[in-house]
Symmetry: C2
Subunit: 211 residues, 2 copies
């Protein structure tokens, strides 16, 4: 990785831990292994580093949204998959979503930085909302909608059903961001949540194992 990218990477780490104002240019330079003045050969000033991070974040998000769209489209094409989706597959769906958000290093640091800086700049809270609220609700909603169409799940209001599926995941995520030691407990809760979700929304005529 070249110096220019390493600066971005170390800056993101520091910003996500301490917030923009509490990170000094010299701290970033230190981590990269150069002196502060050298850093100005790569970026005009401190703000430019921050802006570059946001730009990079948007680039990755768009890339990823495209990937999701393709998955979504694929899913729609062979919607057969969703007709016979099992409880275990639903759990896998939820766990993957959760673990991706939680463990992807880039994603995690971005989210922490956004959490800290969101009230500083409306644009940042917009990014946060889109990424962690509106987009997941919309994507998960699409999948659940398909399962309802396929007759696997049953509801009068898919929007609320989606909220019931995703809100607990979101809450467990904010817990683990703050207290990583609660991850094991959170994963157990997540699984119990999805099993109960499935039981609640399963078509009445469908019988569950062991009941």
């Amino acid at each position: 990785m070249d110096t220019k990218h390493r600066i971005l990477d170390e800056a993101l780490t520091l910003f996500s831990e301490k917030g923009y104002a509490n990170v000094f240019v010299a701290d970033i330079a230190d981590r990269v292994g150069i002196k502060a003045p050298s850093l100005y050969k790569h970026y005009k000033n401190k703000q430019a580093i921050f802006d570059a991070i946001i730009e990079e974040m948007n680039r990755r998000f768009l890339e990823q949204a495209g990937a999701l769209q393709i998955n979504g489209t694929d899913a729609l094409v062979d919607a057969e998959i969703y007709k016979n989706i099992s409880e275990d597959q639903l759990i896998t769906l939820g766990k993957n979503l959760f673990l991706y958000f939680l463990h992807d290093e880039y994603t995690r640091r971005f989210r922490k930085m956004l959490t800290i800086e969101q009230f500083h700049d409306k644009k940042l809270s917009d990014v946060y909302m889109k990424k962690y609220v509106d987009d997941p609700l919309s994507y998960q909603g699409m999948l659940l909608e398909m399962m309802v169409s396929a007759g696997v799940l049953q509801t009068e209001n898919v929007e609320i059903m989606t909220l019931h599926f995703y809100a607990p995941i979101y809450m467990l995520l904010t817990i683990c961001d703050r207290e990583p030691e609660r991850e094991t407990e959170a994963l157990k809760t997540l699984e119990a949540h999805i099993r109960q979700f499935n039981r609640l929304y399963a078509r009445n005529e469908k019988k569950h194992s062991g009941q």
Copy 2:
């Protein structure tokens, strides 16, 4: 209100909007209507103002927790109320919780400040977790437990049921903190959520109006 308290109040407002590091002592003094040096007659330094806010917050939280405990105990004593709780009463319960968190000025500013400053200091994230995650789950769980005992609601896992009740409320709260203009929409969603929650967890033999 005397100057000492007005400093605390204005400081909290500013910290909750911009974060500690982005608020200057002169800004606080300005709002109070004095010059920065005068402020040092009331507090030793900037950090002391912040500490006093946290102390005041803890004081209020303890006071409030006491009040909740009493309500809880009262509720337990005449649990009769919960035997015949209606969907509308459940909605009122959720809305009150939501609107209290959202509109109580002190609570709102504290929550925003905690959200911004939580990664600076572990103690702050602990306060946040307790206040907005663990305490509500525990309190709501107690109420729902009573409703299950009374036979109004039915579940094999009250803990997950509580998560299903509270997580959407928590999520709507974080939405409104960031985008207050979505409050009306959020309140509608909240009501739909609780109606669906009630339908999902209502005892099978219970028939719902209009179905």
